[in-house]
Amino acid sequence: MNGSGSVARSHLEVEEWLRASLPDAWVACVDAGRSPGSASRYPDFDEAAWLAEMFDRRYLMASWPAVYGGLGWSPEMARAAFEALSRYEVPLPLYVTSLLLAGHGLLQHGTAEQRHRFLPKMATASEIWCQLFSEPEAGSDLASLRTRAERDTAGWVVTGQKVWSTWAHFARWGLLLARTGTAESRHRGITCFVVDMESPGIEVRPLRQLTGDASFNEVFMDQVPVDDSMRLGGVDEGWNVARSVLQAERGELGQRRVGGADIHRLIDRHRGKAGPEARQRLAARYAQERILGWMAWRGYGRGLEAQAVKLLRAEANMALQSLAVSLEGPRAGARDGAEAETAEIVYGFLRSRANSIAGGTSEIMRNVIGEQLLGLPREPRPAAGAGGPER
């Protein structure tokens, strides 16, 4: 299936299902060009059941081949499906990102056996994945990571520590980067593995973040056995996997806001009340959000340009959430204010602070754009051996 006819058909199919499965009031909001707001506003809406059906229909993983649990749609058709989901502002759990990334890694670098084994359960979200990349001493400078994977007769034994691992506390599988080369080998001595999070020797400790909740973790690995069949890509070739996964992550982060109120919802909230200054600021944010929305729907931001879109999206969302909180005024000083919506806005503001850090910091985005996309001179590297690619 290909061509614009099938694109229109896929869009129609998803849209029909959305109209049938979402509450009428929700659909009416979308038709009126307003934001439906969060799912909690619809007491009769069974979000969990709805999500289960959406995963069952594979609309998020529509571009994956059917044998791996997708629909085998062309990228254009899959994007049309995603566009429909975005337009109806359906609730997508944040772990969707981690599934799409791990899926991307497997599709690009996995063996047929690995794909058969993991992708179908990923497509239905029946197994959650986490990303075990960052370490206490290796975040932006990911190529300096130290977690070691040593050969042994049965395969590999992994020892080390990871940090900020989102969802590790309920993930079934982890995508791990470990050092297999010498300590100085940087990106030339890293291998990627799939780790069973239920293996002996793994300890997951939740970390409290600035929002007060704990959705990321420290992961300690002590002599964790990993079979060689769980290696993704060649030995010492894990950097290729890391790059393509990070690239995909930035693509994803450019598509969707992480944390906080949507611009339409904010406008609804202040309609009829906003003074001239607030109106100006809302209008400016509206323009920015619309443009980002169109970019996402059109699929901009693939390849190296993903960093540009990620950077824009991060900064736009932080500005948007910052405006949301400003417009709440003093009410926003209190998190449990009389109104649930105020509390949600405050939470979104706190959550959005991570946007310029997670998935690669804004500074790193600018470096990659400057050096790799624009071909500007590289940042001077002082110490020999310390150079090499950035995240």
């Binding site: 300096s144 409290r208 600035l210 003093p330 209190a334 449990d336 940042e379 310390a386």
Partner: protein, 378 residues
């Protein structure tokens, strides 16, 4: 740059304040944050050391020293030590003018000894659910019944609301044609209730709460100043409140930058300290330069206030620029900490959370701009 507003006396005072905070506040910071309350015993110790209400005449337990530089020293040292709680700013910078300048002798002898000994905590309640920026929208009422006022209404966002023993409450006085009056409402007044402690983004160690008045009987002898002159009194005291926030803001920015520079020296990325990457070096340089500029602005305003020259517009301007700078600085500092900055246990994440409200309370940044802009004739 050397600061020029302080004398040796202030520096000695600073030493003793610093020692006191290190010993009595810093070790309890985490617990106070967790409990959402600063121990009252801390407050009594601070008062015994002469750091509370020292402007009161000696006859009432104070030192009789009215020099805002001493206030500033305490505010700054609290920030430099990263101690928590808004008690000093509330008591010395905000409440003192109400309790000293608007009280008669009888009221002074009833309240000041407790205030200066730390056994009486005071608060001011202006804001209401429907009246914050717009004080003219205040709806709480007081009507006369014999030698009492009958007070009805709701106040919100009241700092020290739970612990306060005396709440200076702004009401519409029906006797005074609906103009505002200030009534000191004491703990235990029938019909005066406290709501829950509000769960805040920052300043978690400070109790901020709602207050409810339903037919609360407040003796007329508890009115501060003249009936119906409340708005004027508030306007008279707001400049010092705003200056206090500016003092805190620039000190908080200095502190945040200091810990961030340490972090940027220690943590290495790509083989060199975080701060040695030119982009970050520039970010740090900008912050140093901007803080130096704001430091001069704030110091000049402190001196102007000591000389009784600080105008309401100047106070609004310094509150605006200092609190906005504080937020921009802590935000950039958090960024320089990377993922660690987003973790609760790192100090910078608390400094970031605590900074947000500075652009709100004491009058929002937008209201500061209104004050400045209107004064300019627009």
């Amino acid at each position: 740059m050397r600061r020029t507003i302080f004398t040796e006396e202030h520096e000695l005072f600073r030493e003793s304040v610093r020692t006191f905070i290190e010993r009595e506040a810093v070790p309890h910071t985490d617990r106070w944050e967790r409990d959402g309350l600063v121990d009252r015993s801390f407050w009594e110790k601070a008062a015994a050391a002469g750091f509370v209400g020292f402007e009161a005449p000696t006859a009432y337990g104070g030192l009789g020293v009215r020099d805002f530089r001493f206030n500033a020293v305490i505010d700054e040292e609290m920030m430099y030590a990263s101690a928590v709680g808004d008690g000093f700013g509330m008591a010395n910078d905000i409440m003192v003018p109400y309790l000293l300048d608007l009280t008669d002798d009888d009221q002074k002898s009833r309240w000041l000894p407790g205030f200066t000994s730390g056994s009486l905590i005071a608060a001011v309640a202006m804001s209401e659910p429907q009246a914050g920026s717009d004080l003219r929208a205040i709806a709480a009422t007081a009507s006369r019944d014999g030698d009492c006022y009958i007070v009805n209404g709701t106040k919100t966002f009241i700092t020290s609301g739970l612990q306060a023993d005396l709440v200076v409450t702004v009401v519409r006085d029906t006797e005074a044609g609906g103009q505002l009056s200030l009534l000191a409402v004491e703990r235990g007044t029938p019909g005066f209730e406290r709501g829950r402690k509000l769960d805040k983004v920052g300043h978690r160690a400070q109790d901020t709460s709602e207050l409810f008045y339903s037919d609360a009987r407040v003796p007329c002898a508890n009115r501060l100043g003249e009936a119906g002159k409340g708005l004027g009194y508030l306007k008279q005291n707001l400049p010092q409140e705003r200056l206090s926030m500016a003092v805190t803001a620039v000190a908080a920015a200095e502190k945040a930058l200091q810990i961030t520079m340490e972090y940027c020296r220690q943590r290495k990325v790509f083989g060199q300290p975080v701060g040695s990457h030119q982009a970050n070096r520039f970010t740090i340089a900008e912050m140093l330069a901007e803080i130096a500029r704001e430091r001069c602005h704030v110091d000049r305003c402190i001196q102007a206030h000591v000389d009784s020259e600080l105008t309401a517009v100047e106070a609004a301007a310094v509150k605006l620029t200092a609190s906005e700078l504080q937020f921009q600085v802590v935000d950039r500092c958090l960024q320089l900490h990377g993922g660690y900055g987003y973790m609760d246990e790192y100090l910078i994440s608390r400094l970031w959370r605590d900074a947000r409200v500075q652009r709100i309370y004491g009058g929002t940044s937008e209201i500061m701009k209104e004050i400045i802009g209107r004064d300019a004739g627009f």
